[in-house]
Every structure is written in structure tokens, then in C-alpha cells.
């Protein structure tokens, strides 16, 4: 620095000289420097733009892939739903068709019985009483004219006729009673027919309802096959909802597993020792964790074997006989593990009591050793939890499957978002570099304001001189 200021005997003059020299150098290098700065800005902008384009392409590719994954998942889900609906229809139809012959026979029999009863119950009109009235008139005449001979015969005829009439009336009443009885018998038959027809109606309605549902699902399925944006949008939002719901359920399941762990970790020390370590962790804790993991695995296999979940296609594709065998095997292992857990939970309580008693004895508080008579409630509750939790954890398979499937989509969406933000940032940086180069070139001009002002003034005077010359020499 001193050297720079010592080129003349006066430092101020030296400094001024240097300033003039630098300004002059900068002024003469100005066009090249401006060009260089602007070129650099443009180059950096292009670099970032290329990077941004590349990221945008990657984003587009990922979006396509995500869309494909989403559509494939949606297609599979719809296929499962439609398949299950068809299974249900098949079940209904099979059940009804299997009973149709019985139903038909029952209806025919009921109708035949009704027809027979109806035919039997036809009302027979009583004998016309006209000639009886004539006999009565003759009998009355005969007794009025004191004609005993004919009158007696006619009276006898009258009596016998009256007797016959009474018998006919009695027979008629009996027949009527019988007809009424037959009609009464027909009522349950009518009801049975009505009930049967109602059942048939319900089944038909159910089939119609299911067919409408299938129609709706098929429509959605076709939308998915065609890859329509609406279908993708619905699937995407559903996927997000499934992701958060399944994550919530999994968190609950993790809570359950933690409780389960605390139930069995302590008594596990009785089996594998309380102080042995594997890789820095207590063997008892690892053993308890392994038991819980095995239970969850068995639960997964059980759910797969039952075809409730489809995480392992190999299990789903097994022959039915093998699959059913697998169901029993996994269930048995799960049951045994649950029993072991219940035993360990009991052991935990025993150990706890023992420890409390020992502590009380060591404290010299022997009275505290007496057991609480209601302690069996907590023991039973712990045993119950130890037995139930493994089975409850079995159902983790369902949210886990949903979580795994929706996770792909969610990761895809997050990655797309990140790539989009990256692309935007790169573009912003590129443009920023471009404008920065402009700003730098302006800053470059800042110390050159005197020569620039001078040059501008000179250019102005030249242009005014040229104008005046043009005016003088047209």
C-alpha cells in the first residue's frame, strides 16, 4: 500500500494518479468487461435453465409413473370390489336357485291345495221351498173342509216333508261349516305364498341393488382403464386419505405393541436372564420384541391366508387346501403365543408382588406384605390383555397393507412436489444470475461516472453539431 502511495512525493497526488489510471483502464476495458459480465450472467442463466428443464422432465416422468401406479392400484382395488360384488351375487343366486325347485314345489302345492279347497267349498243352494208351500196349502184346505181321509194323508206328507226339510237344512248347515273350515285352512296357505313371494321380492331387490353397485363400480373401472383425469384425481385424494387414516391406525397399533412389550419384557428376564446383552440391548427386551414381531408376522400370514390382505401374492395363489392348512397353522401359533403372553403377564404380576414384598421386608415394613384381596382383578386384566393383544395386533395387517400401497403414491406426490420446487428454484436462480450480471455491469459503471458523463456530453455536442450542419447544408 505504501508502495502505491509513494510513486510521487505526495501521497494524495499518488492516490489521485492511481484513481485516474484505474478509471481510465476501466473505461477503456468497459465494453469488453460489460460483454463478459453479461455473457457470464446469460451462461449461468442457461445452466440453471437447463438444470431446471431436466428437473421438470424428471418431474413429468415421475408424475407419469405415479399416475400409472395410481391407476394400477385403483384398477386392482376396483377389480377386487367388483369381484367381491360378483361373489355376493353368485352367493345370492346360488342360494335362491338352489331353493328354487323347493320354492316352486311349495308354491304349486299351496296353489293346488287352495284350488282343491276352493272346489270343495263351492256353495250348494238349498232345495227350493215352493212345493212345500203347496203341500202346506193343501193340508190347510183339507182340515178346513173337514175332509179327514185326504187331509190325514196330506198331513202325514206335510210332516214327513217338514222332517225332510229339517234334515236338509241340518245337512246344509253342516256343509256350510265344513266349507268355512276349509276356507279358514286356506288363510295360512295364502300367507305362506305371500311370505315366499316377499322373500323372492327381497332377493330380487338385493340383486338389483348389487347390480346397480356393480354398474357404478364398472363405470369407475372403465374411467380408470381409460386413464381419465377425474379418476386419477379421485384415486389420488383417496390415496392421501387412506395414507393418513392407516398411519393413524398404525400409530395406535404401535401403542398396543408397546403395552404388549411392557407386559412381557419384565417376566422374560426369568427365561433368558435379566442382565445378558446382545448388541448393547437386554436379551430379555429383544426376546419380548421378537415374540411381538412373530405375532405380527403370524397375523399378517393369517390375514393373507384368509385373503383379507394381499401383501404376499404367493400365499393368495396357494391352493385352497394348502391355504386352509396355513390358516390353521398360523392361528394355532398365534393362539399358543397369546397363551404364552398371558402366562408371562401373570408371571409379571407375581414378580411385582414378590419385589414389593422383598422391598417391604428390607424396609422393615412387614405389614405391607399382606396381599390385597382385589389384586386378582389387575392380574386377570393383565392376563386378558396379554391374551387379547396378539389377536388385536393381527388386524394391523389391514392398515399396513393400505399404508404400504398408499405410501407409494404419497412418496410420489412428495417427490413431485420437491422436484417442482427445485425446478422453480433453479429457474429463479438462473434469472437472478441474469439480472445480477446487469446489476454488476451497472455497478462497474459507477466509478466511471466522470468519463461517461464526459463521453455523453461529447456525443451530444457532436450530434447537435451534425444537426446544425444538416440544417446549413440541406
Amino acid at each position: 500500500m505504501d508502495f502505491l502511495l509513494s510513486i510521487t512525493p505526495w501521497p494524495v497526488l499518488s492516490a489521485l494518479l492511481w484513481i485516474v489510471l484505474i478509471v481510465a483502464a476501466l473505461y477503456f476495458a468497459r465494453p469488453t468487461a460489460h460483454k463478459l459480465i453479461l455473457k457470464m450472467g446469460v451462461s449461468v442463466q442457461r445452466l440453471f435453465r437447463t438444470a431446471s428443464l431436466s428437473v421438470t422432465k424428471a418431474e413429468a416422468r415421475l408424475a407419469d409413473r405415479n399416475r400409472e401406479v395410481l391407476l394400477a392400484a385403483g384398477r386392482e382395488a376396483k377389480e377386487r370390489i367388483v369381484e367381491r360384488e360378483f361373489d355376493r351375487i353368485n352367493e345370492t343366486v346360488r342360494k335362491d336357485l338352489a331353493n328354487f325347485s323347493v320354492l316352486h314345489r311349495s308354491l304349486s302345492e299351496s296353489i293346488t291345495r287352495i284350488e282343491e279347497d276352493h272346489a270343495t267349498a263351492v256353495d250348494v243352494p238349498p232345495d227350493p221351498p215352493g212345493w212345500v208351500k203347496a203341500v202346506e196349502a193343501v193340508a190347510a184346505l183339507d182340515s178346513k173342509d173337514n175332509r179327514v181321509g185326504v187331509g190325514g194323508i196330506l198331513s202325514n206328507i206335510h210332516e214327513s216333508m217338514m222332517h225332510a226339510h229339517k234334515e236338509a237344512m241340518t245337512a246344509y248347515r253342516r256343509a256350510s261349516r265344513k266349507r268355512h273350515s276349509l276356507l279358514r285352512k286356506m288363510r295360512p296357505e295364502w300367507r305362506r305364498i305371500q311370505q315366499t313371494l316377499d322373500n323372492v321380492g327381497k332377493n330380487v331387490d338385493s340383486l338389483l341393488g348389487r347390480s346397480a353397485t356393480i354398474d357404478r363400480h364398472m363405470q369407475e373401472y372403465e374411467d380408470i382403464i381409460r386413464g381419465e383425469d377425474r379418476a386419477v384425481s379421485i384415486l389420488s385424494s383417496s390415496s392421501l386419505v387412506y395414507f393418513f387414516v392407516s398411519a393413524l391406525v398404525l400409530v395406535v397399533a404401535v401403542g398396543g405393541a408397546t403395552i404388549n412389550f411392557s407386559l412381557i419384557a419384565r417376566p422374560m428376564a426369568e427365561m433368558v436372564g435379566g442382565t445378558n446383552l446382545i448388541g448393547g440391548f437386554r436379551t430379555a427386551d429383544i426376546a419380548a420384541l421378537v415374540i411381538i414381531m412373530v405375532e405380527i408376522s403370524m397375523g399378517l400370514f393369517l390375514m393373507e391366508s384368509l385373503r383379507i390382505t394381499r401383501l404376499f401374492p404367493v400365499i393368495g395363489a396357494l391352493p385352497d387346501k394348502t391355504r386352509i392348512r396355513m390358516i390353521w397353522i398360523t392361528f394355532t401359533i398365534l393362539f399358543l403365543l397369546a397363551t404364552v403372553e398371558a402366562g408371562l403377564a401373570f408371571m409379571r404380576e407375581v414378580l411385582l408382588h414378590d419385589e414389593l414384598a422383598t422391598s417391604a421386608i428390607l424396609r422393615g415394613d412387614a405389614a405391607a406384605v399382606t396381599t390385597n384381596e382385589y389384586m386378582w382383578i389387575t392380574t386377570a386384566a393383565q392376563m386378558g390383555m396379554g391374551f387379547i393383544l396378539p389377536f388385536a395386533l393381527t388386524f394391523v395387517a389391514i392398515p399396513l397393507e393400505t399404508f404400504v400401497h398408499s405410501l407409494r403414491t404419497v412418496i410420489g406426490l412428495v417427490a413431485i412436489g420437491l422436484l417442482r420446487v427445485t425446478s422453480l428454484l433453479l429457474r429463479l436462480l438462473g434469472n437472478g444470475a441474469r439480472y445480477l450480471s446487469v446489476v454488476v455491469s451497472q455497478i462497474y459503471d459507477l466509478p466511471l461516472f466522470i468519463p461517461l458523463w464526459w463521453a455523453a456530453r461529447d456525443a451530444e455536442s457532436r450530434s447537435s453539431r451534425n444537426d446544425s450542419l444538416r440544417k446549413v447544408m440541406p
Partner: protein, 212 residues
């Protein structure tokens, strides 16, 4: 590839090998039964019970009396190394507590006090057990009184040992000249620290939280 797989298998085996816990503790408690200090033995029982409640599986604990010649296994009143199983540990603790109760009832006063011999025995015992932490509790007034002929001018190796003096009561002579008491404490502290051990004194038996 083969070497790599062998190395991985070895690493897995090493990880799976159940390691003996280095975090276990070994506690050796010396109880002075000489002269009037015999009357303090009930306090020693409390400390033992407290210590028992704080010890866990695979820890070792021994209680020995300080009498005329304490460098002897015969002076060990009770000793135990706790089992790995929690249920057994509880059972062992109870049995140990019973043994100590019996000792407290039957302990007799001894004419001499061989603290150094007891400490040597403690060091030997704990070195044999090789616990992670080694603690020697000395329940005494720290006034050593050796019978004629007993040689206790021996160098210790107390590296890794915590020596804790408990209930160091003041003698009548200490009351007359407290320098005696302070000199006694200093002497023991120097002896322990020069041998590589850590020295502590706890006289307030209500504040035993930092004992183990």
C-alpha cells in the same frame, strides 16, 4: 466374497454371544464390632438393607465384621452373588437379610480393631468377583487398634475402588481434641487415595441416596 461372508458371520456371532454384564456392582461392607461401636450395629443393618434394595441381578455383596484379625474368610458374615433371574434375586435378598438379622442379634464385641486387614480381605474378595464397580463400605469410627504382633503396614492396590466410610463417630478423645478425629480421617483418605482409590465419608445416614 467368501472371506466377507465369513467376516459377517463372525460379526453376527459376536453380536449374538451373550456377554457377561460389565455394569454389575460388587459391594463389600466391613462392620466394626469392637468396643462401644458394637452398639451402632443396628444402624449397620439398616445400611445393609438399603444396599440390598439397591442391588440387582449378578451384583455381588458381602458383609464382614472387623475384629482382632479381619484378614480372614471366617470374618465374612454373609456373601452372595445374585442370580440372573429376578425371582431368585428377591429370594436371595430375603435370605441375606435374615442372615444379617441373625448376626446383629448374636454379634459380640471384639477387643481389637483390624480395619486394614478387613480392607485387604475386601479387595481380595472383589478382585476375585471382577464386578464392573467395586465399593467397600467401612462402618467404623476408623480408629484402628491392632493386637501386638499383627503387621498391617502393607501397600494396597485400590485402583477402581470406591472406599466409603460410614457413620464415623467421634470418640470421647475426639471431643477433647478434634484434631485427632480430623487426623484419623486424613490418614485414611491419604492411604486410600495414594493407593489409587476414591475416598468418601457419609455420616448422615438419612442421605444414603448417593451411596450406590
Amino acid at each position: 466374497m467368501r472371506r466377507l461372508s465369513i467376516a459377517v458371520a463372525c460379526a453376527l456371532l459376536a453380536a449374538c454371544t451373550s456377554s457377561s454384564t460389565p455394569g454389575n456392582s460388587g459391594v463389600y461392607m466391613l462392620i466394626d464390632t469392637s468396643g462401644t461401636y458394637r452398639e451402632e450395629i443396628n444402624k449397620a443393618e439398616q445400611i445393609i438393607r438399603y444396599t440390598l434394595s439397591r442391588l440387582d441381578a449378578t451384583d455381588s455383596f458381602a458383609v464382614a465384621r472387623i475384629d482382632t484379625g479381619s484378614f480372614s474368610e471366617k470374618d465374612i458374615v454373609a456373601k452372595i452373588t445374585f442370580d440372573d433371574r429376578p425371582s431368585m434375586v428377591n429370594q436371595q435378598k430375603r435370605q441375606f437379610a435374615e442372615q444379617i438379622s441373625m448376626f446383629v442379634k448374636e454379634a459380640k464385641s471384639s477387643p481389637y480393631t483390624d480395619i486394614t486387614g478387613g480392607l485387604l480381605q475386601a479387595v481380595e474378595f472383589l478382585n476375585e468377583k471382577q464386578p464392573g464397580k467395586k465399593k467397600v463400605l467401612i462402618f467404623s469410627d476408623l480408629k484402628e487398634d491392632l493386637e501386638e504382633g499383627y503387621i498391617r503396614d502393607i501397600d494396597f492396590d485400590l485402583d477402581g475402588f470406591d472406599i466409603i466410610a460410614l457413620n464415623v463417630t467421634k470418640l470421647r478423645s475426639d471431643n477433647v481434641d478434634p484434631r485427632e478425629y480430623l487426623a484419623r480421617l486424613d490418614e485414611w483418605q491419604t492411604k486410600v487415595e495414594s493407593s489409587g482409590g476414591n475416598w468418601r465419608v457419609i455420616n448422615d445416614l438419612d442421605g444414603l441416596d448417593g451411596l450406590l
